[in-house]
Amino acid sequence: MTPPAGSPESPTTLPYPFDEYPLDASSYDEMFEHDGTPRPHYRAIFDQLQRFTREQLERRQQAADLTFFNQGVTFTVYGDDEGTERIMPFDLVPRIITSAEWDRVERGLAQRVQALNLFLRDVYNEQRILADGIVPRELVLGCPHYLPQMQGFVPPGGVYTTVVGTDLVRIETGEFVVLEDNLRVPSGVSYMIANRGVTKKVFPTLFQSYGVRPTDQYAARLRAALQHLASDRTARPRIVVLTPGIHNSAYFEHSFLARQMGVELVEGSDLVVKDQVVYMRTTRGPRRVDVIYRRIDDDFLDPLAFRSDSMLGVPGIFQAYRAGNVAIANALGAGVADDKAVYTYVPELIRYYLDEEPILPNVETYRLEDPKERDHVLANLERMVVKAVGQSGGYGMLMGPSSTSAERAEFKAKILADPRGYIAQPVLRISTAPCFTEGRVQPRHVDLRPYILFGGKVDIVPGGLTRVALRKGSLVVNSSQGGGTKATWVLD
């Protein structure tokens, strides 16, 4: 028998296509209050979706998919048998954020990025924060992403992270909290841009009537931030995007951004270093390069300075960088600040460098080096998410609630062997957003990744990429593991 309406697991008495939309009081739904009332800023789309038949909705979804297919908006999945290109799954229902909500997020992100850059400059130079005991010295210096070769060097303007992708989630209260920062090679912004184009085609009238803040200028703003890195040396710096090549999973994005910015897309083999200056090989001879937006990891960037087996890098580029003859975004060694264990100290960084209280809180995180916290986590693994500190993409993770006892035993052993290598967070009931799937609108878990640019000042394009865990009940949003994306509308 159907449980009474309004109870935590019952479907609502809402009209099609919302007629089987379960409301769950334990998490925040982007569209509906707990009693099934649509939130004010979702009212218009709630009404609009009811005016479509299932066929009409499916046609719009197909049209959206076809646009992605034709444009080749793809990604490659590692570990997949074929390693084939897949079209990024896109859900047509937009995710809407109010102006007030966004303004707070924006301020919080700006604060965070500024503090992280000051931290990086400090740990690679005076190390005051370590001397003052705010962050354990061993945590930073022992971090695998800490590059001793960067000691004593300050990149132009003290800007270590030109592009940051910070992952936010909404907890039960509806508040946005920071899940993690990505300071090395954050990706996904091309999907944000592509989604915006598609969503305008799927719901043009609605889009216009809502009044959505524009995101079109991302490429121009990225270019400005990159130019800023060389502004003291030349008024017209030559910028390039450095890609590992067409077989990289994010190649589409590298190519897309290069085109949108109007700069060359190069591979390691196109660059050559002579007398500590970087040149690119053109049909008119070598041309000096001033700024490199690199999408290659630190380790692979220079076979003379780092991994000698790297075929992707440019021999001698690190020397040119340290000599100040070429700017590289993001700076090498930035990974020490997005290490998941260092993440737990970010609120302290904000207080220390900016003398402010953090606007956006961290997620409660257990530091497994601490014996008490470690014991608590090990005793409650089935309610925890355990992450390896240096990994990304959802790999190397334990999802407690859906894990087997064998998997939990495996992680317990890993933790005991290398406590510094892992952090744990209680499983979050992250918010759900309406998605059009199987002919109806259904809730699926989402997160938000805004992209923060840092040139002369912090510059954040409104919204970002909303990633959605397409599998029912799944909390893993990464594309590599079955996730998709939604358009994100920040209202005026």
Binding site: I246, S255, A258, R259, E264, L265, V266, E267, S269, D270, V272, K274, V277, Y279, M280, R281, T282, T283, R284, G285, P286, R287, R288
Partner: protein
Amino acid sequence: MLSRVADCLYWMSRYLERAQHTARLVDVYRDITLDQKGARALARWRLVNEELELPPLPDGAQEDPRELARWISYDLLNESSIASSVHRARENARSVRELISTEMWESINLLYHRVRQAGDGRVPAEDGGASYYKLVMDGVYLFHGHAQSTLSHNEGWQFVRLGQHIERAQMIARQLRVNFRLCSVAPSNGGPDGPADHLDWIALMKSCLALEMYCKAYSPQFEPALVAEFLLLDAKFPYSVRFCAEHIRESLDELAVQSLQPGSKRSQLLAGRLASMLSYAQVEEVMAEGIENLLERVALLCDAIHEALYAEYIHYAVEEEHQPA
């Protein structure tokens, strides 16, 4: 433009030219061997293989006309098969996708998918393969049509032209060499590898799309000297080696101008040499001297032009000649 990109455009174009020319050649020979049997048909196919300088059939493969045609047309193990050439052209295009227009990319991508769908040719097609060859030729023409109209006629376009004309010049020269060698076989040897007959000349002309134009210019009679004059020395016909040489020279001159460096480049000198060698040759002298000598020089010059082009624009050493900007 990036040297690597020039490299990709050049090879994309060479592979496309190779694919469409091979397709036409195979289609023509398929047609003329339809009513031939056994040894004579096989001899013709061996000829085709030689003209195309293809790797031999793998060990154990049955050497018969159908298998040879399949090997040349569909087999990916054959690096120079039609299918392989299309695959490689598309790979090169994919690497420089952001530089070529959407129309160019979509046309080459479509061709690639259709060729893939045609499979390995082991199941004989109902029409004997005619539609396969047509789709390859049409696909390449479509691509060039788009390139002509949608790619800015700057460096990239010049490399596309160079690839096309260097490949074409070499292919025609090779075909001429093989066919004229047959000519020199004594008429008394009437066996399977006998002298070129009327049908062979027609095949040669058709494969260079030259039959109708030749007949207009001369007559339906095929005199070796006239064939040589038309396919080697004609200034206006697109499938003459001289025409290709002129285009090669133009492209290299244009690239040199755009490179903003003073003095002639070696690639220009070689291209000039090839073009003038063909413009000032007289067919009577060429035949008297033995056409294979001229053809040999053409082949060597084409190779040398390719090497010089690479040394000047693509694989140059950064330490040497160039002053960094």
